[in-house]
Each structure stands twice: as structure tokens, then as C-alpha cells.
């Protein structure tokens, strides 16, 4: 099973049925797989904080949401994570492409990569880092953990995990 199919199958197995996405080159395959999955309502967002608002509403309506985005979005969403998702205690798995790590061709991406883990730590967001393809085996447990503790949880996925660009 490809990594993309494994991710979608874990989302489905954990009843995640509302997914918002803002694209990244590295996430193109998993976004396609989400779009193709009938049991998931896929709603592309124009900005990641908007997507987190959609997820908050869907959660209160009984859905299990998730967001897929790039790590640059941490810079966009700090206020939303703190004053909406965390303040009202809502679960939100965040599958994040960790741009700016080894193999990155775009220098500017490194500028946000160096802040990514520090920002997540500052926000007390549980953070998992997928570096090798087999790390995806932890996703099922991470999703269960997220909906158990009602917190936003970050899953950083770097270029080595995706096997290049």
C-alpha cells in the first residue's frame, strides 16, 4: 500500500470524515486520495485559519475533522489554534508537510522550517515527526490520541518521508 493510501485508510478507520486542505507539492498525492475517498467530505480552504474554522464547525456538528497543510501555515494559524481550537478544546489532527528539511530545493522554505518545531513546542501542541516511510505506522495511534485528548496535534512529514520532491 502506498503511503498516501495508508494515510487515507487510517483516516477512514478512525472515522475522520471531514478534511480541509491547502495544497503543498508534497501533499498532492494524499490530497488526490482524499478527494477520491467517498466517506470523506473534502473541502479545500483558501487559507489555513479558514480551514480550522470549518473544522471547528464540523466537529461541533458531529464530524471528525482533519486539516492537511504546509508548515508555513503554522505562521498563519497561531491565533486560531490558540483562541479557537485549544481554547474551546477541540480535536484537530494536522497532517503537515515539513518543508525546508534535507533535500529541500527552495531556500526560503528553510526559513520557516527552523521555526516550525519551536513554535509547535511553544504552543504545547503534541508533535510527531515522520522521517522514514515506515513512520506512517504510528498514524493510527496518533489519530486515536488526538480524539482522546481533544487537542490539535501536529504530524510533520519531511522530504525523506515522502521520498524526495
Amino acid at each position: 500500500m502506498s503511503v498516501n493510501d495508508k494515510i487515507v485508510s487510517d483516516l477512514v478507520a478512525n472515522n475522520v470524515n471531514f478534511v480541509t486542505t491547502v495544497p503543498c507539492k508534497q501533499l498532492a498525492g494524499v490530497i488526490d486520495a482524499i478527494e477520491a475517498q467517498d466517506s470523506i467530505y473534502h473541502i479545500p480552504a483558501n487559507k489555513e485559519d479558514e480551514g480550522m474554522g470549518l473544522c471547528a464547525g464540523a466537529f461541533m456538528g458531529g464530524k471528525r475533522p482533519a486539516i492537511i497543510m504546509q508548515n508555513t501555515a503554522i505562521g498563519v494559524t497561531i491565533n486560531t489554534l490558540v483562541t479557537l481550537t485549544q481554547y474551546y478544546r477541540m480535536p484537530l489532527p494536522m497532517l503537515i508537510s515539513y518543508r525546508g528539511e534535507l533535500g529541500e530545493p527552495v531556500a526560503c522554505q528553510v526559513e520557516m522550517a527552523v521555526h516550525t518545531k519551536a513554535l509547535l513546542a511553544q504552543l504545547n501542541i503534541p508533535t510527531y515527526h515522520f522521517h522514514k516511510p515506515e513512520d506512517v505506522e504510528e498514524l493510527d495511534a496518533i489519530l486515536k490520541h488526538t480524539f482522546m485528548c481533544n487537542k490539535p496535534v501536529a504530524i510533520l512529514t519531511d522530504a525523506s518521508f515522502w521520498q524526495g520532491y
Binding site: 479558514e50 474554522g53 464547525g57 464540523a58 456538528g61 464530524k63 478544546r89
Partner: protein, 184 residues
């Protein structure tokens, strides 16, 4: 009429509906006028009332009204194409357009100048956009609730605020009683 006059007018119409209310004075005024468990008060995150309401409407069948402001829609303009392209016929977005950032001291917004939220919503692909004057808002909202079509209402009113206390309810309490109302 200003925003609080509109909220007083529509309170009896929305008291049994699921309402997502914009941060700051709109939530504080609605809380003072007619607090209901079916009101979700935003205590933070300017701009996301429409997004939270749309997510809620897409997730379940009950009608949802997002009360928003022109300043907040300007903050989250990306919401309008998302609404247009993800039609939820149980969703009403009520933009109370007073042409100003009311909660921060009535600084003028661009919506009070050259920019028309109504025209932008239409250009984004929203199919059922109604602009009305403040005094007609209650009737327009009643009609929208009676119809089963996603509707964007832009209610034009004067700026100005009433003195209201802040909401001291715990956010988790707001969320829990709101979710109970969604389920009931």
C-alpha cells in the same frame, strides 16, 4: 438602526436556531439580549464566524445562521468562494454591515467606502445574495429560514454600539451546551 437594534429585532426569530456569532460586541450584545444554549459565542479568532457556521451546516441537517460583520468578512474574504462552492441549503450568512470595525471603536472599513460585500459575494459565485436595509432584516431573515436555499444576507445599518459586559462564560461550557443543542 445600528447592530444592536438589528439583533433585538431578530432575537425572537433566531432563538431556536443554531447561531454562530461573531467575536466582540456582536456576541456580547446577543448574549445580553437573548442568551441561548444554541448560540455559539466566539471569544477569539476574528473572521471565522462564517467558516465555523459553514462547517457546522455541512456536518448536520439543522439550520445554521452565522452572524458576521463587514470587517470580519473583509478579514476572511477567502470564505466567500468556499461558501459559494460548498452549497449547504441549511446555511444562512447574515453580514451586519455597518461600514465600521465596531468592537474596536468604529474605525471605518472599506465596505463603508467603495467595496460592496454584496457584489463580492456574487462575484465569488454565491447564488442567493440579498442586500437589505436594517429595518427589513428580520423579514428577510424569516424568508430565508422559510426557504431551503443557502442565503447570504447583507444588512446595511448605522455604526454605533451599546454598553455591554464581556462574556465570562468558560469557552468549554459555551461549546458543550452548544453541542448539546446541536444534538437535541
Amino acid at each position: 438602526m445600528n447592530r444592536s437594534d438589528i439583533l433585538k429585532d431578530i432575537a425572537p426569530i433566531i432563538s431556536n436556531e443554531l447561531v454562530v456569532c461573531n467575536i466582540g460586541l456582536p456576541s456580547q450584545e446577543l448574549h445580553l439580549i437573548d442568551d441561548q444554549p444554541s448560540n455559539f459565542y466566539m471569544l477569539g479568532t476574528m473572521g471565522l464566524s462564517s467558516s465555523i457556521g459553514l462547517g457546522l451546516a455541512l456536518a448536520q441537517d439543522k439550520k445554521v445562521i452565522s452572524i458576521d460583520g463587514d470587517g470580519s468578512v473583509l478579514t476572511n474574504f477567502g470564505t466567500l468562494p468556499t461558501i459559494a462552492n460548498n452549497v449547504a441549503d441549511n446555511y444562512i450568512l447574515l453580514v451586519i454591515d455597518n461600514g465600521s470595525y465596531g468592537s474596536t471603536g468604529d474605525q471605518p472599513t472599506y465596505a463603508g467606502k467603495k467595496t460592496s460585500i454584496t457584489a463580492v459575494a456574487k462575484a465569488c459565485g454565491c447564488e442567493n445574495v440579498v442586500e437589505c436595509q436594517a429595518e427589513d432584516t428580520a423579514q428577510v431573515l424569516k424568508d430565508a429560514l422559510a426557504g431551503n436555499k443557502m442565503t447570504i444576507i447583507v444588512a446595511k445599518c448605522e455604526s454605533g454600539n451599546i454598553k455591554v459586559p464581556v462574556i465570562t462564560m468558560d469557552p468549554v461550557v459555551i461549546r458543550a451546551r452548544f453541542m448539546d443543542a446541536v444534538q437535541s
